[in-house]
Amino acid sequence: MKYFIVACTALASPAFASSVDIVGNVAAKCVIQSAKAGVYGNPTADVLSTSPSDGGVLPVIRIDVAIADTYVANITYPTSFTSSPSLTDSVAWTGSTAVTQTSDAGMSGYDAAKTVAGSTTTYNLTIAGSTWFSTASTATYAVNKPFTGGTYVAQVTASCIPA
């Protein structure tokens, strides 16, 4: 009888810890990824270009934002070599940045809304998700002078700044 009462008491007990909360928080966040390598082609003696038609490869940067309207992306094409053989003359730089892929159809207007100041292109990231940017870069050496033989290194800068 004693054991029967104990068993009944146990069955009547409330079930503790029957539910566990999972709490999540989505906060404003920006992630910059270098999605694809860029390579300079050398179509003529005095030109280095990332354009595919010049034998180059456009570098691609992916920027992810978790919440809309919280970040501005600045992408700057190079205006100097970070390392190169010794050059005795000046190099003229040109470049541009464009959106090449998006995770949301609404981002298709980013290019139309971008602003360009010097070598920097600014995008307002008004939609949450991922955007892929490609940057074209061309370096032209002094007129009629071929680039000195060696390895040339340049750098694209991507920034994510809260609005």
Partner: protein, 130 residues
């Protein structure tokens, strides 16, 4: 002549899908430090860039002019897939102008033969959090 130029390794970025730089929070909250008239901001940096191990911490005003601040290390070593928390100390008298706390990827010189995209992520000190 130009055919002699070794162009193959002129690269603007690394071909990797796991090359990410992440900093949170976007809008850090001011906290009082243990030193009078010095406030503190707590931030976190996550390095998913295989090619980068060092990040520089910087404080800027709204026009991206450098401002004085203090932190344990201005160049932080963050291994791949590692998260590092760091504090930035700012004088209360500088709070009116201090606007952006940023981390900037840095390359060691030996690796620069295979350069990467430089990344800079900022957090903004909002007026209401000062």
């Amino acid at each position: 002549m130009y055919t002699c130029i070794k162009i193959g390794s002129i690269i603007l970025g690394l071909a990797s899908s796991a090359n990410a730089h992440e900093q949170t929070p976007a809008y850090p909250k001011m906290k009082y430090s243990h030193v009078k008239n010095i406030v503190k901001y707590e931030l976190s940096l996550f390095n998913q860039r295989e090619d980068v191990r060092y990040y520089q911490v910087a404080l800027f005003d709204k026009d991206f002019n450098s401002m004085p601040f203090s932190t344990k290390y201005r160049i932080i070593k963050v291994d791949y897939k590692e998260k590092v928390n760091f504090d930035v100390y700012v004088r209360k008298s500088d709070l009116d102008e201090a606007t952006y706390i940023c981390t900037i990827s840095k390359m060691v010189k030996e690796r620069s033969s295979r350069p990467v995209i430089a990344s800079m992520i900022c957090s903004k000190i909002k007026e209401e959090t000062k």
